[in-house]
């Protein structure tokens, strides 16, 4: 079926000059037809390939972005079709193996910073289209030293064991009990969208805790929040339309995308088709009940809450409004907000210390910013005001400790 979409073109290009051995794999050498390439282009947006495979200020897809992992740094490879430094020598089958098994050309194991545990769910047809698109890009010569991990993590053989413990290969299997739209959404979220790469809690080895899918995880100094239907900590209060608005425009009546999600929206989800966004929303609204009971809020009479209330009035209320309601599309709502109620306050500490800027999309172009307060608020003040925010107006969440603020402050200084 797919093969019919591929054309054999013998008369062409430097790529074909490699001799018989190349011609034996000629299915990788012909240019695919428009429909396949364009489907691949769309899949590259769904998968947000360029986000990781582009260095700041660098050529798209030419790699070179440093990815911080708990085990050390990895640098993303060049996936333009340059034969020496990119994936110009890859065949479609080589690429399929990368996506479905996490195994690179020549048989080495990839680190799971490349989200192959998600991409394994992608169909061979989609992978072929994505590969066809990548092969049409302008080759860029850019040598990247991917593996910058310290010993022992730099030993790729160790990944055999990791995969055995954490990785289940296999394409997405539709649920016959659910609608076509639900299944499309599930495929997008679990496969190309690789939402769980950030939003699913990880075990000590960095593998997904599948039983807690999409319940939130702290990654690179940000808390990727719980995006299940949990009413308190998740996005249970968001309607399907709210989810679509957020992904399409970067803003809805509750929140604005900022931090790493701002980039996801601007580069990926704002360019996804309306029907796919609706499918994602349908799946997220029906991905299992995970509601947790809200803990009791800390009493307003506590000294930390009084201090926080005064700081909030002085520093925060001008934009976020005195009752934490915010201004849609401009200043995020803090009352009854999933991110605010998350057990982990990393993102909140992060935006207070370092500031953050919302993404800009055609529909919502203002791109407002939260200013940094690291220069004029102490660890105690940040902890107090966040504890107050996390326990006011219907919110209830554990107090923020000054030590947590100090630790993230140190981390951010090193960046």
């Amino acid at each position: 079926m797919t093969r019919a979409l591929w054309k054999f073109r013998l008369g062409m290009t430097a790529a074909a000059v490699g001799g018989l051995s190349s011609l034996a794999m000629a299915q990788s050498l012909g240019d695919a037809e428009f429909n396949v390439v364009d489907r691949g282009r769309y899949l590259s947006i769904l998968s947000d390939c360029a986000a990781c495979h582009t260095a700041p200020g660098g050529r798209p897809f030419a790699g070179g972005l440093s990815i911080e992992t708990p085990f050390g740094n990895l640098v993303t490879p060049n996936i333009t079709p340059d034969r020496e430094t990119g994936i110009g020598k890859y065949t479609k089958d080589d690429f399929q193996r990368v996506m479905s098994e996490g195994i690179g050309r020549g048989g080495y194991h990839l680190y799971a910073a490349m989200p192959y545990p998600a991409y394994t769910k992608m169909t061979a047809e989609d992978n072929a289209a994505l590969f066809a698109y990548l092969q049409t890009l302008q080759p860029v010569k850019n040598q990247v030293e991917v593996n910058q991990l310290p010993f022992p993590y730099n030993q790729r053989w160790s990944l055999f064991g990791w995969n055995a413990l954490n990785f289940t290969a296999g394409v997405f299997k539709p649920n016959a009990d659910k609608s076509k739209q639900w299944n499309r959404g599930a495929y997008l979220v679990q496969g190309p969208g690789h939402c769980g790469t950030c939003h699913t809690p990880k075990n000590a080895l960095g593998g997904d805790k599948d039983s807690e899918a999409l319940q939130g995880f702290v990654i690179q100094g940000w808390n990727a929040p719980n995006i299940t239907t949990d009413q308190h900590k998740g996005i249970g209060s968001w309607s399907a339309d709210d989810i679509v608005a957020y992904l399409k425009t970067g803003a809805n009546r509750f929140d604005l995308a900022s931090g790493p999600m701002a980039e996801v929206v601007t580069k990926s989800t704002s360019k996804i088709s309306d029907s796919d966004l609706a499918a994602i929303a349908t799946y997220l609204k029906d991905s299992g009940e995970t509601s947790t009971a809200a803990s009791a809020a800390i009493a307003q009479s506590e000294p930390v809450m009084k201090a926080g209330a005064a700081l909030y009035a002085d520093r925060c209320s001008g934009c976020h409004t005195p009752a934490g309601e915010g201004i849609p599309k401009l200043f995020p709502r803090l009352a009854d907000a999933p991110l605010v109620n998350a057990d982990d306050a990393t993102s909140l500490i992060h935006v207070v210390l370092a500031g953050s800027r919302a993404g800009s999309t055609d529909a919502v172009s203002t791109s407002p910013a939260m200013p940094a307060f690291d220069w004029n608020m102490s660890d105690e003040q940040v902890a107090s005001v966040l504890t107050y925010v996390r326990n006011s107006w219907g919110n209830a969440a554990p107090a923020v400790k000054p030590a947590d603020v100090a630790s993230l402050r140190d981390h951010l200084k090193k960046q």
Binding site: R315, G318, C319, I327, P328, K329, L330, F331, G355, R357, S360, D362, A363, V364, S365, T366, S367, P368, A369, P371, A372, F373, W375, N376
Partner: protein
């Protein structure tokens, strides 16, 4: 030798209100636009953080948003017999710089001019007789009228979300609005701001005296607003850091809040910042602009070829660029001939300060355009028969927010420093207020703009020379209107009041207003104006000069709303008339 850049459809000089509006309208129509701005890129999120923007020393005293006089300034004198000297510090007015221009540091007051203003000379002659206008004045009609202007005022209101209450909706006078305004086609986009105590007290007194107070139209807005370009503003928090500041809350409309976030996403828009335009280039016939010449920060010169050139800098630079580029004939006050530089006008600032014992105004609560006003003594809203002058002013209480360093409302006679000064500050800080009267400035034969014969900028180009003094007409008007303000003040029952009508000669200090207008004025015919009613140069039909430089005189209102409406008017004419048949749009 300038390096020639690729051709573009439109080159725009300046990215303040007028440049940004024209760029937005023309890119939306599919034209390729290159905008060239002499100052830096400015952005609310990066430059106007709420944690650092309320800094009076930085923005008021060190004037961070203003043009540096080392880059460009003006020379000044009161009359043509004097030798002008350069301003080395801004005082009387504040030319802005960078994207947003003066639209970053404005107060946000957004009046529309009244219908009679657009044909002021004809109107006054009809009402008071053909010889009633004093010889001193060179008042003119604008060559346009209210019906032509109204849609473009509305277009600007929709972009900035202006807060206010209509006083005249499609001819029906509305309770609570300004009954003297021209008929509006629609209500303000957002409801009026809440009023602090000072304006409330003033409005009560004014109403008791039979006047009709209304909320000052404000582009510091009262409620969240998303404009037609998709950018969102938040409600004003009355922080009081507006005039001379950028707004951190996205509450004060500015080009960088309301237009540029959408504009920069368009593929057919390019901005070149830190690039100073040296002149508008014309071909050998001098009837056609071929583009603009500009210099970057290294002094390298670049030629930007373009089919259309739109000049949207501040009043001073609009006129200077026309003089430097040889567009039109320079005005000569001794003969009255020439049009470039003619009818330069200002604004006549008056006020009355009130000291109470039993009031608390909490003066730190405020905003640049928050307040209540009356229009009974503005322009020709009252009978001028036998008064010996024309014009008037907008009387209003607009507590702009007490500046932490500068606000020291002490009565005359208080020592300027020391214990008594401190005591007087404490006594009066909370309980003083003032009523302002922003009044008209009418054109005279001797008030004009020209190139300075002596002083040059770093490129060797002559500076602009201002020749200006207050006309007798305006000084009489100031006395009269200030006495009317004093009547209201007296009714409010203060312990002490101090009248400050504009008196004597114009001086470059202190700050009075940045409402400098005219010099490249619009009108009905090329004998006494520079641009037609579409802001199109009479001499060079593919050149448009947009902004307050086009006002033939200045009524008793703030100019931004009208400068912006003219930008929409020019863009509309380019889209709907000029592009279909390039050439002069008004034949004479």
């Amino acid at each position: 030798m300038a390096t020639k850049l690729p051709h573009t459809d439109v080159a725009i000089i300046g990215l303040g209100w007028t440049g940004a509006i024209v760029a937005s309208e023309l890119t939306a129509a599919g034209l390729d636009v290159v905008a060239i701005e002499r100052g830096p890129w400015r952005d609310t999120a990066r430059d106007f953080s709420i944690a650092s923007v309320p800094d009076e020393l930085r923005y008021v005293h060190r004037q961070e948003l203003m043009l540096r006089t080392a880059q460009n300034t003006v020379t000044v004198r009161n009359d043509p017999s004097e030798t002008a000297l350069p301003m080395r510090n801004w005082g009387s007015f504040h030319p802005g710089n960078g994207t947003g221009g003066a639209g970053n540091h404005w107060a946000g007051i957004t009046f529309r001019f009244q219908p009679q203003e657009f044909r002021l000379k004809s109107y006054l002659q009809e009402r008071y007789g053909p010889t009633a206008i004093p010889d001193e004045l060179t008042l003119q009609d604008w060559g346009t009228d209210w019906n032509e202007m109204e849609p473009f005022y509305t277009a600007f209101d929709r972009i900035v979300g202006t807060s206010g209450k209509a006083g005249n909706l499609r001819g029906q006078i509305q309770e609570g609005g300004n009954p003297f305004e021209g008929p509006r086609s629609e209500e303000y986009p957002t409801k009026p701001l809440r009023q602090p105590y000072g304006p409330v007290l003033f409005a009560k007194a004014a109403a008791e005296m039979g006047y009709r107070p209304f909320p000052v139209p404000s582009s510091l807005i009262s409620e969240p607003y998303t404009n037609p370009l998709g950018v969102t503003m938040g409600p004003c928090t009355f922080c009081g850091f507006c005039t001379n500041y950028g707004c951190a809350n996205y509450s004060k409309a500015s080009p960088i809040v309301n237009i540029l976030p959408a504009l920069v996403r368009r593929q057919n828009f390019t901005a070149r910042t830190n690039s100073e335009v040296l002149k508008v280039l014309t071909d050998s016939t001098r009837k056609k602009a071929t583009g603009v010449l500009f210099a970057d920060t290294s002094g390298e010169e670049w030629e930007q070829p373009a089919d259309l050139v739109v000049v949207g800098a501040f009043t001073f630079e609009n006129v200077r660029l026309m003089l430097l580029s040889g567009i039109g004939k320079p005005y000569d006050p001794s003969t009255g001939e020439g049009t470039t530089g003619r009818n330069y006008c200002y604004q006549t600032a008056n006020g009355v300060q009130l000291f109470f014992d039993d009031k608390n105004f909490n003066p730190f609560i405020g905003g640049g355009a928050v307040g209540m006003g009356i229009d009974e003594f503005n322009n020709d809203n009252f009978d001028h028969s036998g008064l010996g002058f024309f014009g008037g002013g907008s009387i209003r209480v607009t507590p702009i927010g007490a500046a932490p360093i500068s606000y020291r409302p002490v009565p005359p006679g208080t020592p300027a420093w020391g214990k008594e000064w401190k005591k007087a500050t404490v006594k009066n800080y909370l309980s003083a207020m003032s009523i302002g009267c922003e009044a008209s400035s009418y054109a005279t034969r001797n008030n004009y703009l020209s190139l300075d014969p002596t002083y040059t900028d770093r490129f060797g180009r002559p500076l602009l020379r201002i020749t200006f003094d207050f006309p007798e007409n305006d000084l009489k008007m100031a006395q009269y209107c200030t006495s009317k303000v004093a009547d209201i003040a007296r009714h409010m029952g203060p312990r002490q009041m101090v009248e400050n009508p504009m008196k004597g000669h114009w001086n470059t200090v202190p700050y009075q207003s940045s409402h400098v207008v005219g010099g490249f004025i619009m009108g009905e015919n090329p004998a006494n104006s520079c641009v037609n009613k579409y802001l199109q140069s009479w001499d060079v039909p593919n050149l448009f000069v947009v902004g307050a430089s086009a006002f033939p005189q200045n009524p008793g209102y703030n100019p931004t709303g009208t400068a912006a409406a003219l930008a929409f008017k020019a863009a509309d004419a380019i889209k709907n008339i000029y592009l279909k048949d390039p050439g002069p749009m008004v034949r004479t």
